[in-house]
Symmetry: C2
Subunit: 317 residues, 2 copies
């Protein structure tokens, strides 16, 4: 197992700087008053390709030697990693093939194609995804860039917390959504090195709480095809992310579907930013656990902004 170090994070920071945005940190008096804490929202919804995943994908793609790069890259992803890899590959001018669930949001599929990526569809389950992907790799010989169980990807995502600490100084806590655990692992890697007093909380949908149950059990528990509005968070932990989650995460907090949608609507209404349901899970868990964060300086990672505007979760009413 190739475990990334903080030296890899510094190298990633240099490597990807020309290809990503240094995203802004927003604050909101309303939110601070609501929670009784100082919240700093790191806006990766404004990132290239609309999500933090452009960091890890760019680090992997631009770190390839010329021969490997020429063959191209491939991945499977519930969405944002797919389009981030297509973005990075397009930027380097190499082919990218991505396996996506046929149920993935249309906006994400269109974006992958817009960056010049090729899509191969699978069923919306982990097992189907992995089977279809094996065929793609056999066909193309492309370099596999896993959406999170990859040292290059984790080192890339870790640059997000590096920017936060650089801008804000040490924080009491950082709260990030957890699906496969790439962003949380990157946050652990950076914070345990340059801001060791900063506690890392992982925020997860109750409907897809495999990371929470894994964390409590002390070993990885994986679910097949959980159902949640936070479509970026359905995938399970793998050994590399489990390495960081099990060692450095303070706690895994969960929120119900209703709580996630309410937090999402609150952020749109009050902060005037477009972000996807997965990105609302941190605020939803903070709202449920106010005493944990009272009086603290808390970084909140808004992981992405790729949402089907025609299918917003409160649109039924």
């Amino acid at each position: 197992m190739d475990i990334p170090t903080y030296a890899d994070v510094e190298a990633a920071h240099e490597r990807i700087a020309p290809h990503i945005h240094r995203t802004p940190v927003l604050t909101s008096t309303f939110m601070n008053d609501l929670i009784g804490a100082s919240l700093f929202f790191k806006c990766e919804n404004f990132q290239k390709a609309g999500a933090f995943k452009a960091r890890g994908a760019s680090n992997a793609v631009f770190g390839l030697d010329a021969a490997k790069a020429a063959v191209g890259v491939a991945t499977h992803s519930s969405g944002n990693h797919a389009l981030s890899l297509a973005y990075a590959a397009g930027r380097r001018g190499i082919p990218a093939t991505v396996v996506m669930p046929r149920t993935a949001p249309e906006a994400k599929k269109a974006a992958v194609r817009g960056y010049g990526g090729r899509i191969v569809e699978c069923e919306p389950s982990t097992s189907s995804r992995e089977a279809v992907f094996a065929e793609v790799v056999a066909e193309t010989g492309a370099e596999f860039v896993h959406p999170y169980n990859d040292a290059r990807v984790i080192a890339g995502q870790a640059t997000c917390s590096r920017e936060m600490i650089d801008e804000l100084g040490e924080l009491d806590a950082v709260v990030a959504p957890i699906g496969g655990g790439g962003m949380v692992s990157g946050s652990c890697l950076t914070l345990s090195t340059i801001a060791p007093k900063t506690k890392v909380y992982a925020a997860e949908p109750k409907n897809a709480d495999d990371a929470c149950r894994s964390f409590k059990a002390g070993h990885i528990i994986a679910d097949d095809a959980p159902e949640t509005v936070a479509d970026g968070l359905k995938v399970p932990l793998k050994e590399l992310t489990w390495h960081f989650v099990s060692r450095h995460v303070e706690d895994v907090l969960t929120a119900t579907e209703e709580e996630i949608v309410e937090a999402m609507r609150l952020i749109w209404q009050r902060m005037k930013i477009v972000m996807e349901p997965s990105s609302a899970v941190p605020l939803a868990t903070i709202l449920k656990n106010k005493p944990l964060f009272a009086g603290k300086r808390v970084g909140v990672i808004i992981t992405g902004g790729n949402v089907d505007l025609g299918k917003l979760p409160w649109a039924k009413a």
Copy 2:
């Protein structure tokens, strides 16, 4: 007629600084490529109370002497001025009464009440609004702060362009939506003084194109109750805003309802910001008039972000 001068703008800038945000300017590679110009989006959707109107309202409220302030303020407004006046009055701790059309978005009514303002409803027409308002003033004796035909309000709105020029240097053009003309007049006042080469374009819904027809005719033409998705832009010009529009505006450009909704969706999708339909009219007109802006540095004022998230204009599909 009390015409504001640029000295009033500088005074407003000092007076309102503690009560408003210096809003960020966003850029987008996608938008620049689409138009073939350098666009600078001044994000007043992130402003206090969710719109640029907090500038003018704060300037009026905090400029009152103690005796007048104690009696309170009153206004009529299609929405954002109402809640901005309630915001400013609440911040100073004085009463605010606002006359709003009964059809105004629920989110705006709730926000007025949230700031402690009192709402009196009228029919959605200029004539009804003015009749109901006369009764309110007779009852309360409150200081009338007109949403735009008021020197204090125009001087306040003018601080927006002052910030843009301060941050960006001289621009080739600024495009702002026009309803009653407060923001456009403020832009004319500031730009004609500190950046005289910057052309001011007013952007208007074709369905409520009274400013365009006025501009061509050389005198004010007012419509009663036009219908447009850009609900902030239904009101007519008045003598004070006509003074600036007729003297300093380069042209009044119009866009259809479909073009406005398409531009709004494009901004949400690509720039990940929540803004209201009125704020999309500038981009809609720029998209229709690309040759006018090709190769230019163009300021685009995103005037507000107060939108009923449950009633988005593309939700029918």
